[in-house]
Symmetry: C2
Subunit: 127 residues, 2 copies
């Protein structure tokens, strides 16, 4: 039996995968994985997700260069969530050019941006 | 417009919610929220999830006492994932009696338990 058989993928064959910075502990993003992307992630030691919008494998950083080198992989007690500890290339995980996708905080019933843009997305995706 | 209207709940009316220890940065668990549970979480400043298995509101800690006091709430660039920074009562988030639900690590193609049980679940749920 493969370690992959222990994962309980949902009705669409997907599980949520959280990427956390291995050094700082900061949560960078959450995306989705199917079985193939999780297997590739473990083999390559680089994060590979499943893009639900594009319905294809998403080799994180393929366009932006913001690859995630995978240090460790965990799964949870219900076997249906993956946690990756990663080294974030370029220090930017978010397509908005920020370190983390979780850059908006609830303050007095309003979402407030609390993280600065490190690099203009136009520069990231201009290739 | 309410801050809740900016969240993109999925076809089941749910979003994933990650709970992270506000002090240590450790990821404790991931569960699901519907609109009502998220609103209650913000109002009470205590984590309230939606139990998919029981199909009802899940006031985290209602049975175990392992309440999560919410320090901050974030959401991500796609508006479909919530991040809670919490203070974990009792230092135990997982129903297995461990601090974190992510207690199994992939090592040489096998899942290995890397976190100890702090309290026997029988003692936690004996009430």
């Amino acid at each position: 039996m493969s370690w992959l058989d222990e994962i309980r993928f949902d009705e669409n064959g997907l599980v949520p995968a959280i990427a956390q910075d291995a050094s700082s502990g900061k949560i960078l993003m959450m995306a989705w994985m199917n079985r193939e992307s999780l297997q590739l992630t473990a083999e390559k030691k680089q994060a590979v997700y499943w893009s639900r919008s594009r319905q294809k494998l998403w080799f994180k950083g393929e366009e932006s260069g913001h690859i995630q080198n995978v240090v460790d992989i965990y799964f949870d007690c219900d076997e249906d969530v993956i946690l990756l500890k990663v080294e974030q290339n370029g220090g930017i995980a978010c397509h908005t050019g920020r370190e983390s996708c979780f850059y908006r905080q609830l303050q007095d019933d309003e979402w407030v941006e609390v993280e600065q843009v490190i690099k203009d997305p136009k520069q990231i995706y201009s290739k």
